[in-house]
Symmetry: C2
Subunit: 142 residues, 2 copies
DNA sequence: CAACAGTTTAGAATAAATATAATGTATTAT
DNA sequence: ATAATACATTATATTTATTCTAAACTGTTG
């Protein structure tokens, strides 16, 4: 299976040995047809449902964070009670639906390059993310 | 004191009665020469230092959230273990220094208008925020 | 001054995230 | 292969931010 090799590669590059549990996590994260957003809790639930194997919370946390460090996952900047992660690591942005508490991807092409004129001496920009909060548009009413 | 009247006004408009504790919170938040960022913990510490009066955690949380609802404070979208708030409610953006865990304002004029081409049916954009994560620029090294 | 509505508070409850320490598994050198 | 070693996994405990709760308090009104 070609996928499996990729997972092993990702794990090794993240400084982790390829174990059954970690490969299972990779399958859920990187085998999906589409990229998706998740919280740790949701990820654990998905694994539990699909799985013939038990993976502990701690392992999930550790593996996800190793992938974040390495850039295989992204954390979505959102002040929520739980952290949101994204398997889409390409440069893109988000709508956050405040009423349904749902994230929606905005493709990079749908947002003009964000041009920041200010610079901080000795620092460089590692990433730029746009969060657009949306709500129902009840323009008709009132 | 003219300031005091403003505080009472803000509290009333937020659906809160003007009490000693709440006015104290207003003083710390809205009396500063410059706008600033804070976590609840930091806010409590500032109040404790300045104060002749004890204000409980619960009161601080409740009051801050009432102000957020009303738009007198802004929550900064950042996936951190604690929530970050901003007394600057004008439209602006942030650098987040990942090494020092520090927020830096970016004035609206320093970022070109973010143009989002995509729309979500039935929804309207309530706010657009840019977060630029920055790290040390060790360009000299390798 | 008694009754009432709304406040404040300390402490308890909740929940996410992280740390710990014991047990389990894989790898290495022999 | 096998013993020795290094790394993993797990359940559980801990930590920390936030929210809830219930009792005590304050101030206003009849």
């Amino acid at each position: 299976m070609a996928h499996s090799d990729q997972y092993i590669d990702k794990l090794r590059k993240s400084g982790l040995r390829p174990t059954k549990q970690r490969i299972k996590i990779c399958e859920v994260l990187f085998d999906a047809e589409k990229t998706f957003h998740f919280t740790i809790k949701e990820l654990v639930k998905i694994i539990e449902n699909q799985a013939n194997i038990k993976v502990s919370l701690a392992t999930v946390y550790n593996t996800v964070h190793a992938f974040i460090r390495k850039g295989y996952l992204k954390e979505i900047p959102l002040n929520a009670s739980q952290s949101y992660f994204d398997t889409n690591v390409t440069h893109h942005h988000h709508f956050f639906d405040e009423e349904e508490n749902k994230l929606i991807d905005i493709h990079q092409d749908d947002v003009d390059e964000v041009n920041i004129k200010r610079i901080i001496p000795g620092k460089k920009i590692r990433s730029v993310e746009v969060i657009a909060k949306i709500v129902s548009d009840n323009q008709s009413q009132k």
